[in-house]
Assembly symmetry: C2
């Protein structure tokens, strides 16, 4: 999808967003604001055991401005062309991908009728939200596996084609909580064309056009490798740790914005 055709909004969530009806639910409220009374499809495709997700989100969204919350689950790839399943997306204002395994999303719905409907929704200005695995899946190349809480070792990272709703970035989630700075640096080292986005739990990047804004209780980290002066990724043995010099990093808190095109951060205004 070319940058030019991008019309909708992405809400990219780092996992663990507050869903308790008594809690602050900052992110769920933002999702509801974008749907404003319309239909929201909860895609639980990422999960092997989707039971419970729908209930939890139904409670979380109950008193918010969501007209209708409908679950979309695909047990097996053949169902992803099922007419009834496809029809669910026709009049949706938004879709919300819950967590699980990002490879389940892409292997089950990649290049199917459902994926086409998701793109169509996005192109007509709809909302695509995703948390955890549902966040990772949004980029053209996505992070699948890699050790947390360790400096990146060359060779210890699995990437895969994502849904491609946003280009030139790679997304990691549960970021500070799972100590994933090493692996995001590793991903960026592979090709500094991609900007690394590390999103904390209960935190989201709301992307419209080329700019995203941060909401939630944690931070969004941006890893920019465009000025890297040295990287041993291609030379060193797989068991060696990554060496990468002159990386630029931004830590973005609530209200901060970031422009993907100019790769620059914009501070929150005083009243944020």
């Amino acid at each position: 999808m070319s940058e030019e055709r991008r019309r909708g909004t992405l809400i990219i969530i780092g996992g663990g967003e507050e869903r308790d009806p008594r809690g602050h639910r900052e992110i769920l409220k933002e999702v509801a604001r974008h749907v404003h009374g319309g239909k929201l499809v909860l895609a639980t495709v990422a999960s092997h055991r989707p039971e419970g997700y729908f209930d939890e989100y139904q409670k979380g969204f109950a008193d918010l401005d969501v007209g209708e919350l409908v679950e979309l689950y695909v047990e097996d790839r053949c169902e992803a062309s099922d007419r009834e399943k496809l029809a669910v997306l026709d009049d949706a204002a938004g879709i919300f991908f819950s967590g699980g395994d990002q490879l389940r999303i892409t292997s089950q719905i990649g290049d199917t009728g459902i994926e086409a409907k998701v793109r169509a929704l996005f192109e007509r200005g709809g909302l695509i939200a995703g948390t955890s695995a549902g966040a990772s899946v949004m980029s053209d190349t996505m992070l699948v596996k890699g050790t947390s809480r360790e400096t990146h070792r060359i060779g210890d990272l699995h990437m895969s084609p994502g849904l491609g709703l946003v280009r030139n970035v790679i997304i990691d989630q549960h970021f500070a909580e799972r100590g994933r700075f090493g692996r995001l640096l590793g991903a960026v080292a592979h090709n500094p064309r991609v900007l690394g986005l590390g999103i904390d739990e209960d935190t989201a990047a709301i992307l419209e056009g080329d700019r995203f804004r941060v909401i939630g209780s944690g931070a969004v980290y941006v890893v920019d490798g465009s000025q890297v002066s040295h990287c041993n990724l291609a030379e060193a043995r797989p068991e060696r740790v990554l060496s990468m010099h002159d990386v630029k990093v931004h830590v973005l808190g609530t209200g901060d914005q970031f422009d993907l095109k100019s790769r620059s951060a914009i501070p929150a205004s005083a009243d944020d």
Copy 2:
């Protein structure tokens, strides 16, 4: 201590260095190389329960080039002026601070005869090694407490005066393993005059003059805040997360060097 008077070598270890006599013991071997047959004092001051440390290091150093390994422990501050204890350091070639609580080191030996002897050893070209708490304590301001695995929240960080053997840096250890990127960024945000050094387990920075070299199985992260364009530390409420834009980060692997004065990284040579 002024930069000009710095004569000895610092081996700053991120904790968890291989000590098993059957293991690679890269860092212990480096320590022994600097002591070359001389006396090494193992200072277990950081620990409330020093039992076992001496035994373990004795086994780890047994077949290496350490002439004599002697334990130095201070149960209480009044012992830090004890003649016998002080005499231990007179003919030492090096001192090795084991792990525990960095505040125990500074509160027990800060401004005592032992501290004076440690400085004297350093000024006559001796070795000061330290692991974990023993690493943190080397800078003039040291990190004491702060949440790991979380983006830094303003106000959630405790710093304290260290031994001041190296100026203008702040050291964190068990770095990638405990997800401490957030808190080191937080420390640097307080005053970008200090360069943040985050050292992984089983990894060390060997500092001589203004330059250090990396050895071990992990990485040393350098956080350079000198070009930070925005930081909310002084404005925001304590529960807010840190926002900091345009931070420079270096990930240094084995053989990489870093010059503290010019704040620049030097890649390892091909045969490292």
